[in-house]
């Protein structure tokens, strides 16, 4: 990862709940990520959601890796402010525009409750939703990266390193 991209991702993570949109059309297909193609009328975008946790950067890096965009290129960020209604109104507008979107996320339970309902209202298809309890070690970081990679490639999520006393997360993947 280049310094520029790392600083972008750190910036995203520190902004609380963060939504980064990566135009799919700008992503080059990479070898070893079959099943990545997303169907839809228009060029689908990948939208990644994180919510200010220690695993944000790793998850985002995984997503970025899956779409294989050049460093920093095609990456735009829209910082969202926690549970602020305006934040979710923006997300709602994005879900209801005419562009096909693959929404992937590793977020907290509160954000997930709202996001899943917005997806329902937008007529989206829920490809996967899973609850996790994850620690804060290197294994968790690695898992978050692989998770981002898998969800953005519409592949099965890797098994989480289950820590019963760990932090609760929800991973999700939806097609709008």
């Amino acid at each position: 990862m280049t310094t520029d991209r790392r600083s972008i991702l750190k910036g995203l993570a520190s902004a609380g709940l963060v939504m980064a949109t990566m135009p799919w059309a700008q992503a080059k297909p990479s070898s070893g990520t079959p099943g990545r193609a997303v169907h839809g009328d228009g060029p689908p975008h990948v939208t990644a959601l994180v919510s200010g946790s220690a695993l944000d950067a790793a998850f985002m890096a995984g997503v970025q890796q899956a779409i294989d965009a050049p460093s920093g290129q095609g990456l735009s960020a829209q910082p969202l402010q926690g549970l602020d209604a305006a934040t979710f109104a923006r997300l709602n507008r994005l879900l209801n525009d005419d562009n096909a979107t693959l929404l992937v996320g590793l977020i907290d339970d509160a954000s997930a409750a709202v996001v899943i309902d917005l997806v329902r209202s937008a007529g989206g298809r829920m490809l996967s939703v899973q609850h996790h309890r994850v620690g804060q070690d290197a294994g968790a970081t690695q898992w978050a990266r692989l998770l981002g990679q898998a969800l953005a490639a519409t592949q099965a999520a890797p098994d989480a390193p289950n820590h019963t006393a760990g932090t609760a997360y929800v991973s999700l993947s939806c097609m709008i």
Partner: protein, 517 residues
Amino acid sequence: MTTSKYLALPKGVSENRFDAAIQKFNAALGTENVLTSAEHLAPYTKVMMAVETAQHTPSAVVMATSVEQVQAVVKICNEYKIPVWTISTGRNFGYGSAAPVERGQIVLDLKKMNKILHIDPELCTALVEPGVTYQMLYDYIEENKLPLMLSFSAPSAIAGPLGNTMDRGVGYTPYGEHFLMQCGMEVVMANGDVLRTGMGGVKGDKAWQVFKWGYGPTLDGMFTQSNYGICTKMGFWLMPKPPVFKPFEVKFDNEADISEIVEMLRPLRIAQIIPNAVVIAGTLWEASTCNTRRSDYLKTPGHTPDEVVKQIQKDKDLGAWNVYAALYGSPEQVEVNWKIVTDTIKRAGKGRIVTQEEAGDRQPFKYRAELMSGVPNLQEFGLYNWRGGGGSMWFAPVSQARGSECDKQVKLAKTILNKHGLDYVGEFIVGWRDMHHVIDVLYDRSNPEETKRANACFSELLDEFEKEGYAVYRVNTAFQERVANSYGPVKRDVERKIKRALDPNGILSPGKSGIRI
């Protein structure tokens, strides 16, 4: 188990017969408004209740865009004996979310009927369709600079007035008893008739949204928390925006203060010195809504010990009880009432008053003030992060607004919750003369053992509170049958007779509030 191309089938309906019904839905609504795939249905099966998700899996989702389409859906459901569970925005969350009460029911989602039909800024009335959200109304009022104020429940931004009122939800402004402020309904009956309540049936009438009672029996109430019809339009009253809004908080340091708080505030509430519902929130409720997680303090399972709760209270500068209320009116009115309120609190010799000027943008004061002034927000969703894992069931017994009720209820609830390894996360809402004790039974739904405990806990709460003469005013779909029993056999019998008369095939939301043919 036989396999089916559908995620579930309505009880007693074969796959072939369901195929035929789906074809008719497609013809009546368009294929884009009929969903049967697992991926589309997944968000409609998501439940926060401590039961198997499969118990509430729908067989299909159909979306209507007009009253005529709702009539068409009802006709097809009658023809094929398909039970239909209706939602407006489906944002009932801890009371059951969008999922049907029984596996196999189809969901009629009215989200596409989302027109604000009328807002009268002089008479302060509104008429809306089911899919209208509070955020849409708020935006409309703001864009048109109307001098009006909304009242809504805590998931305000994404919930809607029609659904919330039909479920007899409450809000935090002086208009917070939402069904009291409802005025006029349009209801599609099971036989396809369209009923307008109140003045709505009078040709040329203009008083539908201003006079609730009409002539003869007033029917509106029987359509709330029931399954006698599908509400497609609802009128309600809006509060004129007051020149002055003064929210305040009073923090009380000791858990034992709760009785005194209620005794102190009730006279002010009944006399309308404080015109909105007074909220008295416990420490963990407050902590959760200002982004505190249990895992910040504890890594061990089970309930949170009192000493940890005390530590959180200290760290976050919270009270053991945190009272929120507001004053509304002209500067003169608010000044007089503020003096009465502050004098009352001073006389009590306890309680720290916090004004908006002192609180600034600090949570949870900020979101409480927004709720009391009709500004939508989502901050209370923070409750779901307290334990994590997505499980939530509201337990909301009703009682008289008396201090003597509080101690007893808190002790009973806390003992039961802690016994099951869960936390007391609760608040009291003091209405005009009643009190709702709202407890969020939060648990980790991804943990099957904890889910089982949460279910047992909720059952025990219902049973033990009932022994003390309390019943809940509203409950999630998994426990509606159980709660119907709390209200006695005669009521159930009358409800069943009405159901049989109005919906002989029992197609409309069978099981809602325990009502069936």
